[in-house]
Amino acid sequence: MNLSALKKQEERKREAAYAPATRWQHIQQTITWAEANLPPHLRRNRPRTAKVLPITTGTRQPVRS
């Protein structure tokens, strides 16, 4: 058996042996772990500089209630 076929057979066996609830728990934990371990440039809530908005010269009108 070549390596690709062996790997596929191994994956099939494991998939069948994995308890579904445990598998689901591991998948959820993996998503959390992956989020925390992304390369720095891809992390959410990373430090960002404030977006510079164009300066407008118009006079702001007071809001009337």
């Binding site: 690709s4 994956e11 998948i27």
Partner: protein, 163 residues
């Protein structure tokens, strides 16, 4: 999956291994859907014995068939019976490779070129270099190759050469 716990236990038991596959790619480049940890281990009797101790601590399970699935035995000889094992552990799925396609017999060279890093929790590990990850992908049959990964790796290698 608690990847940190898997890596920590392997290091604690002094297993000589390289992180390969999707987790290694994710930690250095881009998120990629992957549900298991892939490791390439140095293929000698002492290291396989250390690996087996780590697998026992991780609550690993494997079976020759699905019906024979059970906790791994205390004797490490079962690890010599084939080139790759897909295991369950208490912390997630773990794939163990005794050799890797495209890099056959070159574990020590690849370990020398390996990239040493830490996970966000501070767990140290050595991962396969970008050049070796690319060699792995290119050795796969076309239908199994991950084209996006190949493209990102080529770009990263080009950027590193340009520095």
């Amino acid at each position: 999956m608690n990847v940190d716990e898997i890596l920590r236990t392997l290091s604690q038991e002094q297993v000589d291994f390289l992180l390969i596959g999707g987790m290694n790619f994710l930690l250095r480049h881009l998120p990629e859907l992957t549900w298991d940890v892939d490791i390439w281990v140095k293929d000698d009797a002492e290291n396989l014995a250390r690996l087996n101790r780590a697998l026992c601590l991780l609550g690993a399970g494997w079976g020759r068939t699905e019906a024979e699935w059970a906790p791994v035995p205390a004797d490490s000889r079962w690890l010599c019976t084939q080139e790759v094992f897909c295991l369950t552990t208490a912390h997630g799925a773990l794939d163990v490779f005794r050799d890797v396609r495209g890099l056959e017999g070159r574990y020590l060279d690849c370990k020398t070129r390996g990239v040493h890093a830490r996970t966000a929790a501070g767990i140290p590990f050595a991962g396969l270099s970008d050049e070796d990850m690319l060699a792995c992908q290119q050795a796969l049959p076309v239908e199994e190759r991950k084209e996006r990964r190949i493209q990102v790796l080529r770009e990263a290698i080009q950027q590193a050469k340009g520095r």
